[in-house]
């Protein structure tokens, strides 16, 4: 029934989207004086409230970065916490301007929901966690191991595929909720626990003895997470995309929150183009030429944002892995600004 409702809503939304297409999101956002950003209702490291009631996390900082580019003020964001069910309709109905809510970019979502996905801000994927005492260094050594997994998820299917493809013997132990699954693993019901890597790091901290467990290096599925916007407003889409690319470029060029003011004097043409001391790249998008300077000034570069929210500067301590720069063996790559 609920599924039917969602489908009906989305069908209506897609029809609606066509009329909203010509509407200039940027102008509307400037007029409202704040960016309405669809966020998670609570996901460790990506979007959660702190003790003072401020939203924090990786996805949240993305919204703030876009707000910084537009308003030169990262606090001009209205966060709209959305459940998985209502996130797309909220975007379609115009309730939010930008959706950054650990949403996996898939073909069907890209083509049938009237969305445009921006660049991938976080390459996630399914991984494994085991006890150190098991003395396993790779997921390929898990033959015959019992694996705790949540029922009815793509995680469960990926697990079966991976074990079959590698000719390993699988004993999966399934549970209805993620809380039950991790409890069972902690109680010793299974040798390994599997879910998305970002979740593994978060769940690990809640185990009785976090230091007795390690996350294995293999990532067995593709979960590209990124921001998405309404279909049809290309200017707005460009702004979201290039905010991400500016963050990556800043990291490549070594421009950080701390040194961005000094970098304004840099003679490097790439830095000059990024920070807007040369060229009129910001104006081409309807922003000011110092848009990227504003982003880095308030939020830092991609690496700083990553380490602060989910990386070494946080409790999660997720390693960069696929999210490292392309020049360091990762997948994060930005087209040149010129």
């Amino acid at each position: 029934m609920k599924k039917l409702l969602v489908t009906a809503a989305l069908a209506a939304a897609t029809a609606f989207a066509a009329s909203a297409a010509s509407a200039q999101t940027l102008n509307a956002v400037k007029q409202k004086g704040q960016l309405a950003c669809g966020s998670n209702t609570g996901l460790a490291g990506f979007g959660q409230p702190d003790a003072q009631g401020n939203w924090t996390g990786f996805d949240v900082e993305y919204c703030r970065a876009v707000a910084a580019a537009i308003f030169n003020d990262p606090t001009k964001v209205k966060f709209v916490p959305l459940s998985a069910k209502d996130r797309f309709t909220a975007l379609q109905s115009g309730e939010i301007d930008l959706l950054v809510r650990n949403t996996t970019w898939t073909l069907s979502r890209d083509t049938s929901l009237g969305l445009e996905f921006g660049p991938v801000s976080f390459y996630d994927g399914q991984g494994f966690m085991v006890r150190k005492s098991l003395k396993v260094a790779s997921a390929k050594e898990l033959s015959g191991a019992s694996v705790c997994v949540q029922q009815g998820t793509t995680t469960e299917l990926n697990l079966a595929d991976f074990f079959r493809a590698n000719k390993l013997q699988l004993k999966s132990v399934t549970f209805a909720t993620s809380d039950e699954t991790i409890k069972a693993y902690d109680a010793g019901r299974c040798d390994a626990f599997t879910t998305d890597a970002s979740g593994l790091y978060a769940e690990r901290l809640r185990l009785a003895n976090a230091n007795d467990h390690i996350v294995l290096p293999e990532i067995i599925s593709k979960e590209p997470l990124g921001p998405s916007v309404r279909h049809g407003d290309n200017q707005w889409w460009d702004i979201v995309k290039w905010t991400h690319y500016a963050l990556i470029t800043a990291e490549e060029l070594g421009v950080t929150k701390a040194n961005v003011d000094e970098m304004l004097k840099s003679e490097n043409p790439d830095v000059k183009r990024l920070l807007g001391t040369e060229g009129k790249f910001g104006e081409a998008m309807g922003l000011t030429n110092d848009w990227a300077y504003r982003v880095v000034k308030h939020m830092g570069n991609y690496g700083e944002m990553f380490e602060r929210t989910v990386g070494q500067g946080s409790q999660l301590k997720i390693s960069r892995g696929l999210n490292d720069l392309w020049s360091k063996g990762g997948l994060q790559y930005a087209p040149p600004i010129r």
């Binding site: 409702l5 959660q48 003790a51 902690d186 999660l316």
Partner: protein, 392 residues
Amino acid sequence: MTVTEPPGVAPGNRGNADFVRSAMAPAAKPPSSEVGAIAWLRHNLFTGPLNTLLTIGLVLLGYWTIPPLVDYLFIDAVWTGSDREACIYTAERTKVGACWAFVVDRAAFFTYGFYPLAERWRIDVFFVLLVIGIVWLLHLRAPRKDLAAIYGFVFLPVASFLLLSGTPSLGLPTVPTNLWGGMMVSVVVSAVGIVVSLPLGILLALGRRSNMPAAKLFCVIFIEFVRGVPLITVLFMASVMLPLFVPDYMQPDKLLRALVGIALFASAYMAEVVRAGLQALPKGQYEGAMSLGLGWGQMMRLIILPQALKITIPNIVNTYIGLFKDTTLVVIVGIFDFLKAIEASRIDPTWAAPTVSTTGYIYASIFYFFCCYAMSAYARSVERRLAVADKR
């Protein structure tokens, strides 16, 4: 002949009736099995084999559960700390109970949600006004109930709205409802539900029993339709579907949508509760009222409703308690009520530790239990007071 005087007989009465006692013999002690602690135990705990078994079972259950619970909640509990380090297992700390430090750290968020720090005093004032209103209205011996009613039903709602939502003209900056959260939202949603549902429910119940076909049909359709759909569906429709059909600028506020949904939902249930009370009254009450020449309004106001509401107090309070707990469903539409505030905090990596989730839920259950128990305890005291009339 010497007369042996029986003990206790006064010498002067000797001649009359020597066999009559003039003073009571001291009472014999009751058998030891019928007095004191042993008797109490026998009469209350060990009357028969079944009771004996039950008693032993309960004592054992208490023995098995209470000490570990006390250990967990108090003795092994962690009271101070600023992040997960305080509540994780270490070499020295092999037993960790409830992580109260987490609740202490997040107490402000649980209470005020995202409300701006500088404006939180407004919520405190709201809570104080609310408590004054509740005590004044509900305390049986409070003076000036007429003023209390004006305070509770006119002043309080208006003042709360101006305070919480903000009135720039009074120097209170507007706080949009997406920043509302925590206990404050739970209290606002249930208070609105409780205050709106009773009068609306009474109107619907009267409408359903009315002789006017149009009113009756409307009430029946409304009640049956609302009772036929789950609350989740109502909230989901209001939050997801509505925005698709109304233009941007006409969209009602998200919290308002949920408030209206919950209030209407509770009203339909309340209507059925009140209708049960109306039907429970003997027909003679109606006829008696009419034979006195009372009009319909007077009859309802003076004769029928006071009695009908009195018999339905347990059910009304039951509906209120259900409504209070149902407010946690507003999380479906992305509103951070008290429970959701705890849930969102418990996943925070800053506080990721084994017992943090449990502690958060214990805190939630204490709050909900306290509120629900207070409601039912008050209802029982009102019932007792009203029942005095029936005992005469």
